[in-house]
Symmetry: D2
Subunit: 343 residues, 4 copies
């Protein structure tokens, strides 16, 4: 059975496991005060061309979103996101659990439109009753988005400009940052991401780590006593070395972006196969996630040999499914897939 | 200056003040254990034809919604409401502050459509990822709604049936219950409200009390240790007598509904005046709130002599405003209003 | 049956009811924007000799404590209180419900000792692990305390100095402020309270109001968007007039302190009676609450004719009970009490 | 530099790393639905002799405590712990952040006394005001405790009996369970822990895993939709395989307990060395943590060559420090330590 189910089905990039082995018996202090973590932070600062960046390594994506949003918002504020944003739809209410509303604008294949964001913000302050409403206190977008789509540099600049006008931070969820940055259609770099956001995170889990997301505060704006608040939310890892070693490895020899490049190369091959097999695209994204519409009968057949992701019901007889490539997608898997689809 | 701004601009019905005076120096134990509160509860049970009803008297509407919803939901659940529902839009995130998401369906002049509710519930359980999403754990509607509209008995029965199918409670926000029940277009009674809901509240603040909302659990389903949870949320009044005396008075000699009847009679006169003055209705509701579209210039003129409520921007040159009658609207105020509008 | 059960068993001071009657039919805008509330605030500023004071009128004591503490603390902070402080012991966990720990120091008949507070603060920062602990972010005391005891001016100055050294606010719970300030043993004024605290509240509920507590921020330190946060916590009253009128009345003609003086005069008579009756004092306080140790048999007898408050079990055969006077304690009640106790 | 700082300074037991390597490229579904996790659960059930056990694998200790306690308590309940319990003192208020109070009893070298627990529970229900207080809804103990001490089987039976009488769960924090169970002074087995608790966790982080704690509900009492609530709290790992593989390895060939036995053997040698070096014990525990009192001057000298843990200030001139052994403590480290201390 081969899997195109998601980009987190395999373990870690071998370079990471190798480094874990090599360092295994060296004692290191806990909670991120180890030397590996310090090296990882240095590597991230360099990659972002942001020497003043403040970096915190967390374990998972929902944890990271909850931690960043709940520590940056004031009590009377909510976060603005697309309706399809991960924080809106697929985190079991983690943001609300922390006491804050997710205010939504429409999603356009996962993306927020600057005009609709602006309208929400203007409308809020124009409303005579806004003191009885939740203040928009942050904007959340993802890069690449939950649908694999990308913001262009000018789109990011526009969103960033709106946030600056309203003096609220722009937060970029980079669970799949590498897959976005290394897309042939991307016109932004990691330095752009750092420059055009107030805080973002560099996803490790989906890009070859066992676990781990690196939160980057780019404007010397890490909330005071952030470590204590992370502890309080169950988001401080005792053996911080596990995260430090992984991110140090990912940010050595450009491995983080190289993982993305591999996934995008395999994505190109995947798209070709899907097209040759005559499948109908629901959305042909510029990154590692591809969405096709399958007849339910055919889906059942395919699922006997290939793990894919249910995305949504299309109509009574059809389903939208996701095929994802990743840092670990092998040519062999693609060949097997082609044989299955061509039957 | 006359006021049609809202239904809570004046003090209390004189019968309430009179009763507060008469009982003022009698000592009474605190926290709702006084005899007045017991009498109020008896009166409410009778009016609802629900002898098993469990009643708790709270101070205000947002407090009540937060208390009911946060004590009835499990941690993994959210409440379903219309986008325009008070809990969605105008409580400064009080529900999210208590840790729960408000899941929304479209509002139709304030009302939720059974079909759209059903689609949300079916869709949730059909989604393969629903374990990563907020469970719909309660349905919230208001009667009359924030737009003054009303559910018919058959609509309530349908909503109640859907909730029963999914084994989630139906909660009716009755901030303006009296104004809804006594509308000429209403086909439900307070007993119907009790029968067709799992919990509802009888609004006092907007119907002639100084403050106070009576929460009614109709199915022997008051959460255990409710008083303690109210205390924990700052919603337990020390001098419970203040609430007990008011609701005892409102449920003596049918005063609660009589207050509504008065407001609806004055509403009829108001609608006539607005029509005679040639104003354009945004929504002519069956209850005490009426919405008209005014040219901004004319609004400015009117506001010099009449307090009304900003509702929303209609377009660049027009504004939707609300005129509300209440238990205390005097014929004289209507006469003055007519003179002003007819100028 | 007479009652010495507490200082909130009767309704409101007649002057308040009179004023409620007089103003009843005047329309007023909601949420504290009415003219009565503005007058109340002016009266309070003058009484505190604190023209820059920012005042918010809330409904009840636990609500007030939760609102003040949760809006002033940062997420990583807790509030320091005596073990017997109301927020520690008798608010059903309202502070923890808002996400914050109550850090405790011993209570000495309700009072916190400066030395013990200082030791806690010093110890916290000396602890090498304090990043994994709750930061002490505020100090809570009550005046008069839950045991009726009083801080002297020099004690308040010392506590205030310690808080200033650690740059954390000192919050004084004044549920019984009037009874404290008008005690013959008090050496502080309301202006001293304002000067020596960062925020305090003036209790209305126990001093002759139907409900209401006036929160006073004395150092231009009211948290931003406080009204919105109050709404979010269910602590914003629609008919703010109810609170405005009451506090305006209490701060007209010195009524607030006069209510306290009356209670303390009646307290002196009560103490005489308790002594003449040969009862053993558990604590003879300088204010309106008195604590005596009664044999359980005798207590049962007394309770047939007098309502008193259970305080705590003393031993198998004895109970500590509280007798409280208030603004409404009549001479006649004291005479009846004397007859009962002298039997 | 050698380290006796804690039991989580090194990486993972080599058998775990080996297994991570072997399985690395096998695709597996996420969120704990993988086969490794299922095998881990089977192994844990067998080790606990508790076939009905419901097991959830979380990442870290504070996260685990917050998750278990906040999902098992009702809103009006708090958890009872020793003052020195990890949840009371060293989790930055994680329990309070989730809305619940930690109710404390004295700690006796980390242990709770049954008599004092019983007194707290009896006292709570005897108090006439307990509806205004936090209900004790769970008891938290640790095995071994934060001081390395152990409960005997009869002590656990007594605590468990009290909890059963009050119908509240007993929760055992097993961050160092292996070190407790394999102490020569322990008279309980893992099956006893399962039998005498309602829920407990098997600590991985401190016993040779990179991360991970296995929560075991022993009485078919896992809260409904636990996975969703874990997600909501940021405690659901995408690559659940990382936890599954680790616990599967720890519960293969008795590795989990063997790790503990090794640490306790090294502990015996450590104690001998500390004694031979003439150090004064603050507490000679039966498990892998040892506490000695050092003159500050000497501590400074030692810390140049050995990492130890600050525990607490003893007096002006002395400090209590902790030496910990672990699954990875080598004989060589002990030999070097001896040389240093004997200088």
């Amino acid at each position: 059975m081969i899997s195109f189910e998601s980009d987190y089905t395999t373990g870690a990039h071998p370079a990471i496991l190798k480094r874990l082995m090599e360092t295994n018996m060296e004692p290191a202090p806990g909670y991120g005060s180890d030397a590996y973590t310090q090296r990882a932070i240095a590597g991230i600062r360099e990659a972002c061309q942001c020497p003043q960046a403040q970096v915190y390594l967390a374990v998972g994506g929902t944890q990271t979103n909850q931690l960043v949003i709940s520590t940056m918002l004031k009590s009377y504020e909510g976060v603005v996101a697309a309706e399809t944003g991960h924080v809106s739809a697929h985190e079991a209410g983690a943001i609300e659990y922390s006491g804050h509303k997710v205010l939504t604008v429409p999603g356009h294949m996962g993306k927020m439109e600057a005009g609709e964001l602006k309208a929400l913000l203007e409308g809020f302050y124009a409303d005579g009753n806004h003191e009885h409403m939740v203040y928009p206190g942050m904007v959340y977008i993802s890069f690449s988005t939950e649908y694999g789509s990308l913001y262009s540099k000018s789109e990011l600049e526009e969103l960033h400009g709106i946030c600056a006008d309203y003096r609220i931070p722009l937060y970029i969820d980079g669970a799949r940052l590498s897959y976005g940055l290394t897309s042939s259609q991307a016109d932004v770099t990691m330095a752009d991401i750092a420059r055009l956001s107030d805080v973002f995170y560099i996803g490790g889990t989906k890009v070859g780590a066992l676990c781990g997301e690196a939160i980057v505060f780019t404007k010397e704006n890490m909330p005071e006593h952030f470590l204590t608040m992370a502890k309080q939310r169950g988001a401080l890892l005792a053996k911080g070395r596990l995260l430090g070693i992984q991110f140090d490895t990912l940010f050595t020899d450009d491995l983080y972006l190289e993982n993305g490049r591999h996934a995008n190369r395999q994505k190109d091959k995947l798209v070709d196969i899907l097209k040759r097999a005559g499948l109908t695209f629901y959305y042909e994204s510029p990154t590692n996630q591809q969405f096709v519409i399958l007849e339910n009968e055919r889906l059942k057949e395919i699922e006997k040999e290939v793990a894919v992701s249910f995305w949504e019901t299309y109509d009574e007889d059809h389903t939208v499914v996701r095929f994802a490539t990743s840092w670990s997608t092998a040519d062999e898997d693609l060949e097997i897939l082609e044989q299955i689809l061509m039957k």
